[in-house]
Structure formats: structure tokens, C-alpha cells
């Protein structure tokens, strides 16, 4: 087999510490069932401060809105409510959830396609509305007028920004209004001086390309100028989300893996996937065709670093650094990170039910979870799960590494947790847990369903007393955690996600569940 093609997940000290607490995790799954989602609310508060740091270095003011759609968790949202973050709600349910979690309307923005109820509650509570176009402006104004609501603040979502010189192509988007049609939107706004108030303009582009985003951001600066030219006084530029996450610890592993995958598709080495799946690549007359449909799993520049890189880019036409352009233009910068704020904020646990060999000799590990519970494949994210051996069992010295296929609990050929051959340091046994790290952004509950009446994963929030983000930062360094399960660790505590409130972090709160018997400490 040669060197095992590991794709080891990137882990913050906090997740590493949790993964070392094997007894705690087994007790949780024992009590709450498999699959189980675990969220770490303190991590999201830390991630927020990293974004704030970028604002600070560029002297920019503005707000960071968590794109709620990335995770349904109450704990994450309530933890953020206890910070100064904002929240981007993309449905009526999300807006209600945010309000109920303690977000005041001045910290919420309504985005995405909106039904009348969503729009009404947004206007009623005074939430900023990121409008998609002409029709939504009319609808919102009509609601405000009909129900005698206070004027609604609106951001205009633009798209299709033109570039100068070379033509930068962008994928067509279903959302937003072409930047060239801003004039029409402003005319509409001018018709509703008592109903609508222009707060700014924005975009969200589904691309990893900084160059495309630089064109869009400069386009927004020009749009602001057009607004001011018409006597309006907007202050906000909202650049949406899409800041990315780096899932893998080691870029070399990613390079080695993708090279070997390419060779496998070319037939120059044994297959690396279930049924020779090519992840978008195929082989035709000695030449590789197609393109790799995988999330770029190792990204040296992701999350707040990506924001920093964008702000440091020169504006494509004006040449001034984008951060400077925002600052000089007296603009507030809004961002809506979902995946990037949820980075390292959760993991999904699944119990191993069976390990067996197929007729072809492949080793198949069947889990008490299915592909919708761990939707890595859906997002093209490749990472190895971490084996958390059953209580008392130690990682065996012999027997590893092995290549296995991970199958789900549905009676469906296609229900593979991943179509990749996953290499594990040693063979898992029934009763072990596989921990899929970093699933809080879209991979945990976005797709989960109740097919075949299999249980949907429950969700638990976990934290360590005295290890909230603020305290850690004051120490100026992360704690070094003990090597062994339970030794030298600050004990992990937990409660059901829906029972988590920021105050529950204080010890001896009557509603929190403390540590399960034998766990943690």
C-alpha cells in the first residue's frame, strides 16, 4: 500500500483536547445516541475576535454577522449573542431564533429569499434588510406603509460587476441586481422616502477568487458614490461571506493525495475510491479530463486571513488598496461569514457497528450514521475521522494503518459517508467512535433527514469551565493539554444544545449536566 494517504484534520487545541477525552465522548454517545453532534460555543467567540482583529489592523469599523444558515445550533447563536457580533438570518425561523437568543434588531440582518412573514417580522422589529431587487423593495415598502411600521433600513444586493481592461467572468448568480441597474433601484427608493432608508450596498459571490471579489468590492465603492451623487447618504458596504476554511493540517498531505487520486483516475495506481469514483475527473485517451470537484481542503489563506488578503488587494481600476478605499470613503464594512465563523466549532460522532470485508476484499466499516448526518461528501470536503476507541481499549500497537470504506446505516448502495478510501492508523472495532472533526459549518445539520426513520443526530454543547475565549486571550496563550485521557485536562462539561445559555457556563448552574459518570476529569 505504500505510505498511507492520510488527510488529517486541522485541530485547534480545544478540539484536540475534546478528542482526547474519550470517556467523556463515549458517555455522551452512550446517553444521547449515535450519531451525535457536538458544538463548542466558546470557539465561535474566539473566531469572532480573529475577524475583529483584521478590522482593527485596517482601522475599519463595521460589523461581523454570523451567517446562521451554516448551523442550526442554539448554543452557537446564544454564545454569539453574548458578544458584540451580528447575525445574518436567512429565514423566518432563523430570525425568530436570533431574536429569542438575545440578538437585538440592530445586530441582525435579514438576507436571502424572503417570504412575506419573514419580511414583515424584519420590518416590524427594525432589522436591516438586504434586498435582492426591485420587487422586494416594492414589497417591503408596501408592508411598511400598510402596517404603519418605522422606515426600514435596506442594503441593496448587487451582482454582475463590470471589470475594466480584461473581462473577469463570474458565475451567473440567481441573486442580486446587476450593478449596472443600480439607478433603477435608487429611483424606486426615492419613491418611498417615508418607508425605506438606504443603508448601503453589498454583494455575496460564491467564489474562492480574490480577484473577482476585488472587482465586486470596488464596484460597491463606485455604487456608493452613485448613491451619494443622488443625495443619499449610505454608509455600509456588505461583502457577504465565502471566506473559506482550511480543513487539513498538512498541505503536503493534500498535495500527495490529489496527485495519487489523479494517478488512480489515469489507471496508474490502484483505485483510491469506492467504485472508482473520480471526484469530477475522468480519463479519456491517455489524457485527464474534467476538473476536481473537491473543496480545496488545505487553504493557507482562509477565514479572517482571507478577509485580510482581500482588503490588502489593490482596487483593480483605482489602484488604491481596498481597505484604504473603504476607509477613505467613510464606509462601514459588513461581512457575513458562516463557514469561517463556525470553523473548529463542532464535530460529529458516529459509532462503529460492523467491520467486514466485501467479496473484492475491501474493508467496509458500517456506522450508526448516514451520509446526510456527516455531509462532508456533499460539500466535497475530505478529511479523515479520528478513531476514539471504546472505553478502556487502547490504540493497538499492531494492525495499522488500514484503508477502509465508510458506509452509512441506510439500505441504499449510495449511502457512503465518503466515496474515498479512508486510511486509519489502526483498524476500528465495533463500539469505537469515529469523530468527524470540524463539521459545524454546513456539514452537521444542513442536510440531515429522517430517511428510514433513522434518528437525526442530537446536539450537545460542550465547554470547559474557566476556558472561555476571553480568559484565554488574557493569558496570551493556549493551554497545553495533558497527553492522556482525563489526566491534566480541564474537565469538559455539557448540556443539550437547546438548553445552553451563556450563563450556563458558570459552575453549579442548576440546569447544566456537568460531566457524565467517569468522564472528563
Amino acid at each position: 500500500m505504500g505510505v498511507p494517504l492520510y488527510l488529517e484534520p486541522r485541530l485547534t487545541p480545544r478540539l484536540t483536547s475534546l478528542l482526547r477525552s474519550g470517556r467523556f465522548l463515549h458517555a455522551l454517545v452512550g446517553g444521547l445516541g449515535s450519531p451525535l453532534n457536538v458544538v463548542l460555543p466558546d470557539q465561535i467567540a474566539d473566531n469572532l475576535t480573529h475577524f475583529r482583529d483584521v478590522y482593527r489592523t485596517h482601522r475599519l469599523s463595521g460589523q461581523v454577522f454570523f451567517a446562521h444558515k451554516a448551523n442550526r445550533s442554539s448554543a452557537l447563536v446564544r454564545r454569539l449573542a453574548a458578544t458584540d457580533a451580528g447575525l445574518d438570518a436567512a429565514s423566518l425561523g432563523e430570525l425568530q431564533h436570533a431574536l429569542g437568543a438575545g440578538f437585538t434588531p440592530d445586530r441582525i440582518m435579514a438576507t436571502g429569499p424572503k417570504d412575506p412573514e419573514f419580511l414583515w417580522l424584519a420590518a416590524r422589529t427594525g432589522v436591516l434588510v438586504h434586498v435582492d431587487g426591485q420587487a422586494e423593495l416594492d414589497e417591503l415598502a408596501a408592508l411598511v406603509r400598510q402596517y404603519g411600521l418605522p422606515p426600514a433600513g435596506v442594503l441593496l444586493r448587487l451582482s454582475g460587476f463590470a471589470s475594466e481592461g480584461t473581462r473577469l467572468l463570474t458565475r451567473p448568480s440567481r441573486f442580486g441586481t446587476p450593478a449596472g441597474e443600480l439607478g433603477g433601484l435608487l429611483t424606486t427608493l426615492e419613491r418611498y422616502p417615508d418607508e425605506l432608508r438606504l443603508a448601503g450596498v453589498g454583494y455575496h459571490l460564491d467564489t474562492t477568487s480574490l480577484a473577482e471579489k476585488a472587482v465586486a468590492l470596488e464596484g460597491c465603492v463606485r455604487a456608493m458614490d452613485e448613491c451619494r451623487g443622488r443625495g443619499l447618504n449610505p454608509r455600509i458596504i456588505d461583502i457577504g461571506g465565502g471566506f473559506g476554511v482550511s480543513y487539513l493540517a498538512d498541505g503536503e498531505q493534500w498535495e500527495r493525495y490529489t496527485t495519487e487520486l489523479t494517478r488512480a483516475v489515469m489507471g496508474r495506481r490502484p483505485a483510491l475510491t469506492w467504485r472508482r469514483h473520480g471526484y469530477g475527473l475522468w480519463h479519456e485517451a491517455g489524457t485527464l479530463r474534467g476538473s476536481l470537484a473537491l473543496y480545496p481542503a488545505h487553504r493557507p489563506v482562509a477565514a479572517e486571513k482571507y478577509l485580510d488578503a482581500l482588503l490588502t488587494q489593490p482596487a483593480p481600476a483605482l489602484g488604491t488598496r481596498l481597505a484604504t478605499l473603504l476607509l477613505e470613503g467613510l464606509c462601514d464594512l459588513y461581512v457575513e461569514p458562516g463557514r469561517a465563523l463556525a470553523d473548529q466549532c463542532g464535530l460529529t460522532l458516529a459509532r462503529v457497528l460492523e467491520v467486514r470485508r466485501t467479496g473484492a476484499g475491501e474493508r467496509v466499516v458500517r456506522l450508526a450514521a448516514n451520509a446526510t448526518d456527516v455531509a462532508l461528501e456533499e460539500h466535497g470536503v475530505l478529511m479523515d475521522p479520528v478513531v476514539v476507541p471504546a472505553d478502556g481499549r487502547r490504540a493497538p500497537a499492531a494492525g495499522g494503518p488500514v484503508g477502509v470504506h465508510l458506509a452509512g446505516n441506510l439500505c441504499l448502495e449510495a449511502d457512503m459517508i465518503t466515496r474515498r478510501t479512508v486510511f486509519l492508523p489502526y483498524p476500528p472495532c465495533p463500539g469505537d467512535l469515529l469523530a468527524f472533526a470540524n463539521t459545524a459549518g454546513y456539514c452537521m445539520d444542513f442536510r440531515a433527514g429522517e430517511a428510514q426513520r433513522q434518528p437525526v443526530a442530537r446536539k450537545a454543547a460542550v465547554w470547559q469551565d474557566g476556558r472561555d475565549g476571553a480568559r484565554e486571550r488574557r493569558d496570551g496563550r493556549e493551554r497545553q493539554d495533558g497527553q492522556d485521557d482525563g489526566h491534566g485536562e480541564v474537565p469538559w462539561r455539557w448540556c443539550l444544545d437547546e438548553e445552553y445559555w451563556p450563563v450556563a457556563q458558570q459552575a453549579h448552574h442548576p440546569r447544566h449536566h456537568g460531566t457524565p459518570a467517569g468522564g472528563g476529569a
Partner: protein, 439 residues
């Protein structure tokens, strides 16, 4: 030399020996095939001309556009060739990563389309891969285009089998070199030359160089990307090795500073890759051998590529009156003035108000009566001395009051008696409700 057409100047490039004192190989004569001396500046001139030639006259008559997927030298050569026949040229590329090349292509009259990046919210079932769409468009309206298709077009390889390869053999007195080294982009030059050399001597060793995966070397591919090249056949190469961008730049610097060859990064990569590979063989050799590598293009287009990776190679000393020379203490001692006091001061003493922001931002909103001297320009002005009279007080303004404080300190050091910086900048001014105008 008198020629009827610039295209007659393509090919017949010199083979130049590299001084052994520079490369240090004791038994191997190392030669550079200077493809950078082609008229449009690169090895691609040959392939471009050979590929596009059959379609050009028809294109000129039929109002067709020449198209190619290239962000570099092929696009450059095709622009010039198309221009020669009055035919439009369009190139479609994944992001041009060398800014000079973008501007150069525009200057040469090319239309440049850059493909969108990968989606952030990946949809594995998506069918709108931009390259596939591009090919669909081309095949959908074949009449409108002459598509040179450099990654699949056999005429790319032929250009080198007919020209580059035989020239090398002729210059080595009818013998093939023992080693041939080339970077692999479309694989056209390496395959074409290798074919001819092997016909002369089946024993010739061919070393193909690709970029290290995490790196970017303009013009060549990584070990994975090369699999998607139609002309690439692994059997062409006895050995395939990788080079890093750092090695490419190192080689480029050696060729330029020691050998009088202003080569681009792939020339540098070929040089470094050749010497690295040959060094181990050299130690065991007793008789003489020859090796040839290709210098694909020139150094001039890669200044920002170098600036990004090795700014030290372009280092310049700081100027006397520059912000960089300001000490922390000097900067901290600058006189600041808050919005309210500033408004009063402007009304009373009429200081010169200098807004250091960019013209675009200044035009949008500014303090009434202020002049706009953008930061960089101001820095340049100060290198020559004080740009205004000492008798007039000066108020400097920038977005948050940081740059203006530093400039105020510098002007004070340069002898101006009354320079103040707007504390908190234009943003604090706006937040205090003080007036801004748009004229």
C-alpha cells in the same frame, strides 16, 4: 539580414555555452538554447506561428477571431500574429497571475477573458465547469473562431520537431546532446525537440521539469496539471522532476547576473533543474558530455512576480525625507487637533487644509476649501523639500488621523512651524457632524 516579414525572424535562435565557472560542472558542457531571442520574445513564437498560419488568411476573409487558452507567451505571440493579418484575437484564461502580462496583452490589442474561480459552496453535481462551457461555445459556433488549441494541437509539437530540435543538432555539429532539459507547459517544445534528438541518438536523456505542486511558475504546469495536457506523454521523458518557484528565481538571477542572459523564470527553472540533476552524474564522469536546456522567455515581464516572492532582490534604500525615517518619538510628538478646534482654527487662521486621501474618495466627500494631494504623491513631493510656505499654517487630514500625524511630524522635522493633524481624521470629523461637501 533583410526580411520581408517579421515571421521570417522566428527560429534560428543561438545555442550559447554557459561558463563552467558559473555552473561548476567539470565534465559537462552546458548550453542554453535562447528561445527568448525569438521576435515576440519566447519559445511560443514558433508554435503560435505554426498553429495559426493555416487558418489566418481564411480568418481575415471570414471575419473570424483567433482564440486560445493562454495567460502568457502563446497569447502574446498570437496577438502579434493576428494583428499582422488584421484579425482579432481573444484569450480565455484562468486568472492571469502576472500583472505585467495582462497589461501587455491589452496593449497588444488582445481581448482577455478571465474564468471565474472555484465556488466556495461547492456543488459536486454542478455541470457548469467554466472550461467545459468554453469548449461548448467554441464547438457551437466553429465558424466564428480559429481555435489554435495549444494543449492538443499536434502542430505545436511539429513546430519544434521541424525547427528547435534540428537547430540544436546542427549547432552541435550534427550530434544530439547527451542530456536535454526542458520545462513542461503544453509539452510542445519538449516533445518536439526530444523526438528529433532521439532520432539522432536513441541514448539521449530527456529531463522534463514541472512546478512543485504548491508553487506557481508562470508558463509551466505541476505534476497533476500536466496529466490534463493532450500533448503530454510520460514516455517522452526519462525523468520528470519538480522545481520550486524559489529555485526558478535563483536560476533566473544566476543567468542574468552571471551569464548575460536575461531569462524569465522557466529559463531559470530549467537552468537550476539541469545543474541539480547533472551535478551527481558529473562527479562520476570521466569523458566529456553535453547538455542543452531551453531558455523560454525574457525577464522583463516578471518584475511583480519577483517583487512578491523575493522583494530583497529589488531592495531600495529609504529616502531622507520619508516616513520610514521617522522615529516613534517624533511621530508621537506630532500636533493633533480635534474636529471642533479645527473648525474654529480654519475659520480664524485659514490654514491650508490638505486631504491625503485618493482623488476618488476626495471627490465623493471632503472638507470645504481643502486641497487633495494623495498620500503617495505627497511623499514624493516631500523628497524634494517643503512644498509650501512656512508662513501659512497647515492642517493635514486622512481617514483616521494616523498618516496625517506622521506627515505632520515629518513636516515639523523639515522645519515647518505650524503643522497640525486632524485627530481621528475625516471619519471623526464626519461623526462629529461637521460639514463635508461634494462639488
Amino acid at each position: 539580414m533583410r526580411l520581408d516579414s517579421i515571421t521570417d525572424a522566428i527560429g534560428d535562435t543561438p545555442l550559447v555555452r554557459v561558463d563552467p565557472a558559473v555552473h561548476g560542472l567539470r565534465h559537462i558542457d552546458l548550453y542554453a538554447k535562447l528561445e527568448m531571442l525569438n521576435p515576440f520574445g519566447s519559445v511560443k513564437d514558433r508554435a503560435a506561428w505554426h498553429m495559426v498560419r493555416p487558418g489566418l488568411t481564411a480568418a481575415a476573409d471570414g471575419h473570424r477571431t483567433v482564440v486560445e487558452l493562454s495567460s502568457g507567451n502563446t497569447a502574446k505571440a498570437l496577438s502579434l500574429l493576428a494583428g499582422l493579418y488584421g484579425v482579432p484575437f481573444k484569450t480565455v484564461t484562468n486568472r492571469i497571475r502576472v500583472p505585467e502580462m495582462r497589461d501587455l496583452l491589452l496593449l497588444l490589442g488582445a481581448e482577455v477573458e478571465e474564468l471565474p474561480g472555484q465556488t466556495e459552496c461547492l456543488d459536486p453535481t454542478s455541470t457548469d465547469d467554466p472550461l467545459t462551457l468554453f469548449h461548448q461555445e467554441l464547438t457551437g459556433s466553429a465558424d466564428g473562431y480559429v481555435y489554435t488549441d495549444q494543449y492538443y494541437n499536434a502542430r505545436n509539437t511539429e513546430a519544434h520537431a521541424a525547427g528547435t530540435g534540428p537547430e540544436i543538432v546542427a549547432d552541435l555539429d550534427g550530434r544530439a546532446p547527451d542530456h536535454f532539459v526542458a520545462c513542461v507547459g503544453t509539452a510542445g517544445s519538449s516533445s518536439g525537440v526530444a523526438r528529433v534528438l532521439r532520432e539522432h541518438d536513441p541514448g539521449v536523456h530527456v529531463l522534463g521539469l514541472v512546478a512543485h505542486k504548491a508553487d506557481f511558475i508562470p508558463g509551466i504546469r505541476t505534476i497533476d496539471e500536466v496529466q490534463g495536457v493532450g500533448l503530454f506523454d510520460p514516455a517522452t521523458y526519462d525523468t520528470i522532476e519538480t522545481v520550486t518557484a524559489d529555485e526558478a528565481i535563483e536560476g533566473m538571477v544566476t543567468l542574468a547576473r552571471r551569464c548575460g542572459m536575461p531569462a524569465g523564470p522557466t529559463g531559470g527553472a530549467a537552468y537550476t533543474g539541469a545543474v541539480r540533476h547533472l551535478r551527481t552524474l558529473d562527479a562520476e564522469l570521466t569523458e566529456r558530455r553535453t547538455a542543452v536546456f531551453i531558455v523560454c522567455d525574457r525577464i522583463e515581464s516578471y518584475l511583480s512576480y519577483v517583487r512578491q516572492r523575493r522583494p530583497d532582490l529589488l531592495g531600495r534604500p529609504a529616502h531622507r525625507n520619508s516616513l520610514a525615517t521617522l522615529t516613534e518619538a517624533e511621530a508621537a510628538a506630532a500636533t493633533g487637533i480635534g474636529t471642533e478646534d479645527a473648525e474654529r482654527w480654519i475659520a480664524q487662521d485659514e490654514p491650508l487644509v490638505v486631504d491625503l486621501r485618493s482623488p476618488f474618495s476626495y471627490a465623493a466627500l471632503h472638507i470645504d476649501g481643502s486641497v487633495n494631494i494623495v498620500d503617495e504623491l505627497f511623499a514624493e513631493l516631500l523628497q524634494g523639500g517643503l512644498p509650501f510656505s512656512k508662513s501659512r499654517p497647515v492642517l493635514l487630514a486622512c481617514p483616521v488621523g494616523e498618516q496625517s500625524a506622521r506627515y505632520a511630524a515629518l513636516l515639523t522635522r523639515m522645519g515647518h512651524p505650524d503643522v497640525r493633524s486632524l485627530a481621528g481624521g475625516i471619519i471623526a470629523w464626519r461623526d462629529a457632524g461637521a460639514p463635508l461637501v461634494r462639488e
